[in-house]
Subunit: 156 residues, 2 copies
Amino acid sequence: MGDHKNVNQESFKGMLREKGLKVTNQRIYVLEALQASRKQHLTAEEIYNKVKADHPEIGLATVYRTIQVLRELHLIDRINFDDGSERYEISDQKRSKGHHHHHHHLICVKCGKVFEFKDDMMEGLEASIAQKTGFQVIDHEVKLYGYCKECGGNTD
Amino acid sequence: MGDHKNVNQESFKGMLREKGLKVTNQRIYVLEALQASRKQHLTAEEIYNKVKADHPEIGLATVYRTIQVLRELHLIDRINFDDGSERYEISDQKRSKGHHHHHHHLICVKCGKVFEFKDDMMEGLEASIAQKTGFQVIDHEVKLYGYCKECGGNTD
DNA sequence: ATCGCTGCAAATGCTTTGCAAGTAC
DNA sequence: GTACTTGCAAAGCATTTGCAGCGAT
């Protein structure tokens, strides 16, 4: 299977070494599990189970610690859908340094499904905020709640 | 002190009764504590401590249970600033039924202060999403991260 | 050989729940 | 009088941490 858009494993190793961290199988496995499930918003436990399928010796604590590392390297994003666990997904690759370009999440309040929506509109909002308040926005998180096409506005 | 914009206590009592819930002092106290701290994003524990100052007999569990009631009545919103606890604030009164009109939160990544920003721009985004994806948005949550005016773009 | 990393189990911290006594209606 | 509520303590659950052994460099 192609890893067309995924962060090159070699560059991941380089990032680890640059930070003085060691390249371990566990760290590779966790990144791979996340890359294999792009756009799936996995919990730590779900990542743990995916890795464990092939490498039963891994521990949940290691998954949590690896998640921290991947977040520091900006390789994954954390999202919270208020279902009791934090969830993680491979980060969108950004354009200009330091300015992330996330997608939005559309959360259906009826069926619970999560959809993604890519949009540039936030840039206008961020510019307007900078002008009005002097607050310099570098990142954002947008969650939209409503009814997906299938659940279409039914309120029952 | 004026409770100009606060939900009338009488209407709160009415809302409780309509749901078959009882009007208790504890519920009144919790709502009052939140109203007295508008725009302050209190944790359950902070609410508990505020109420306890005047009414030492209240229990933390009751605060948590009352928060659930207030959320069901849409009198408060929950926000999570990733500092380990959920936070709550008096809800913006909405315009059209069922369509909330929240403010956004600007979170300074340096000093941690949280600012509010009111904006109508989301409506355009929501319309655009409905058109493109068929997803009908009824609510949204926007968090913007960056540097506040005081911390002004310093990266150290 | 060093120092970081791992797995396990224990600990933590927020939130929820069971229960008997108390309170609103 | 009958539920619903409360306060307390205990439980629950996701996440973090201490530690001894293991592994990468």
